[in-house]
């Protein structure tokens, strides 16, 4: 009981540190690809603390509630993942977290924020089925929804679920808000619909959303580690490799429309998942 409590506390502190460093590395790598030097590695932390110290401009009363519930739900899903709990539960809590952000975006009058929220909804419609298919694949392999059962496997999951892994890479681009799928809101210095979903969040609220995004980033990379959980170091190497792949894709592709995204993810993504599950189904 005490060790579980200790794990929870360590997770809550360490995960955003890892997420922030990953985002910092992302910004440096992106800058180098564009022939620039780029910001220092701890720039995301500077941004976070600066935003926390700014004036809190609130548009309406419920906005802060949505921001806090987004953060709390993301932390909950990461903690459940680290405690090796139910994967389905983790995915649905994560979806609730994203939903809170969307409701906050829809609660204001700004058309940028509203269009951004609608696009984020469409993104959720695109990536949620793939995540559920991943869990279904894991269930067919291990006969359990728990993360623990994946860790008990003798052989890595990647050998049995290569096509689902490709589909997960596809939705990783959406989750990390990277080009070509960065139309609900964008990161770095990019502008889309001003800032899309995040337009009406300012100061400390934006900082908390950024913090929640770091938790989310680590969680999604954690899903990738599951594909090679027999040796955790190889799993982490694969996760970091896919992160670098996403950065390359971000820099070489242009922003596409949401119709294109739905078309690609629902045909290629779900198609790959179904073929993979047909092979797993015995």
């Amino acid at each position: 009981m005490l060790s579980a409590l200790l794990t929870i506390i360590v997770t809550i502190i360490v995960v955003p540190a890892i997420g922030g460093l990953l985002v910092g590395a992302d910004r440096i790598i992106t800058a180098r690809m564009q022939g620039r030097i780029g910001p220092p590695l701890i720039q995301p932390f500077y941004d976070l603390f600066k935003l926390l110290g700014k004036e809190n401009i609130v548009v309406n009363r419920v906005q802060m509630f949505y921001v806090l519930s987004n953060l709390a739900l993301m932390i909950t899903s990461v903690v459940l993942f680290v405690l090796k709990q139910d994967l389905l539960m983790i995915i649905f809590i994560m979806a609730f977290g994203s939903m809170a952000l969307i409701l906050g975006g829809l609660s204001v009058q700004s058309p940028y924020s509203r269009i951004g929220s609608h696009r984020e909804l469409l993104q959720m419609m695109a990536y949620e089925p793939i995540l559920v298919f991943m869990v279904v694949g894991i269930y067919l392999r291990t006969k359990s929804f728990n993360v623990q059962s994946v860790l008990n496997l003798k052989e890595p999951l990647l050998g049995y679920m290569p096509l689902i892994f490709i589909a997960i890479l596809l939705i990783l681009t959406i989750k990390l808000r990277k080009s070509p799928f960065d139309f609900s809101t964008s990161h770095h210095g990019h502008q889309e619909l001003v800032k899309g979903l995040l337009t009406e969040y300012a100061g400390p609220q934006l900082a908390l959303i950024e913090l929640a995004h770091w938790y989310e980033l680590v969680l999604v990379l954690g899903f990738i580690v599951l594909f090679w959980a027999t040796n955790i170091y190889i799993g982490i190497a694969i996760a970091l490799g896919s992160m670098i792949l996403e950065i390359i894709i971000d820099n070489i592709t242009a922003r596409m429309t949401w119709k294109w995204m739905i078309g690609v993810v629902w045909t290629i993504g779900i198609g790959l998942c179904l073929i993979n599950i047909a092979f797993l189904y015995k």
Partner: protein
């Protein structure tokens, strides 16, 4: 110096508003973002949303038509904030200062911290101006803090 004060200097996000000039200053401001100058080294990001910004960079001659817009953008930036007026037109109205509709400088609409003179100024000068504005912003915050401490002591 606390971590928030340090972060303020390390991460100034800039919103850029052109009050209607010849676009030369705007081109120089955007040149700061290119690989040659790369202001992201200092954490400076050009954002499109005043609600996310720390520094307002104004260029061009402000006139009676758009002073309302400029004031609105300034008001939307959360505290602490700083204003940098880039170019001769933003400072005094420049070559347009005798026009009937032109206000003679941004200072007639919003408080300005730093003027970057030139027609148009070099990107190096603009970066220098933003750094100076951050120093002023930091000083102002310190004064505010001391004032509030003093008023608490008086109570």
């Amino acid at each position: 110096m606390g971590i928030i004060e340090k972060s303020r200097i390390k991460s100034p996000w800039v919103v850029h508003f052109d009050c209607g000039g010849c676009n030369a200053c705007d081109i120089e401001i955007l040149a700061c973002l290119t690989p040659v100058y790369d202001v992201e080294r200092f954490g400076i990001i050009n954002v499109g949303n005043p609600k996310h910004a720390d520094v307002l960079v104004v260029s061009g001659a402000v006139n009676n038509r758009n002073k309302r817009v400029l004031k609105n953008i300034y008001d939307q930036i959360p505290h602490p904030k700083a204003v940098v007026a880039v170019g001769a037109c933003a400072a005094t109205g420049g070559i347009f200062s005798d026009c009937y509709n032109v206000l003679k400088g941004v200072e007639h609409v919003i408080p300005v911290d730093v003027y970057v003179p030139g027609c148009s100024p070099k990107p190096e000068a603009i970066i220098d101006g933003i750094v100076k504005a951050l120093e002023k912003m930091d000083e102002r915050q310190k004064e505010k803090k001391q004032k509030s401490v003093r008023s608490r002591e008086n109570d």
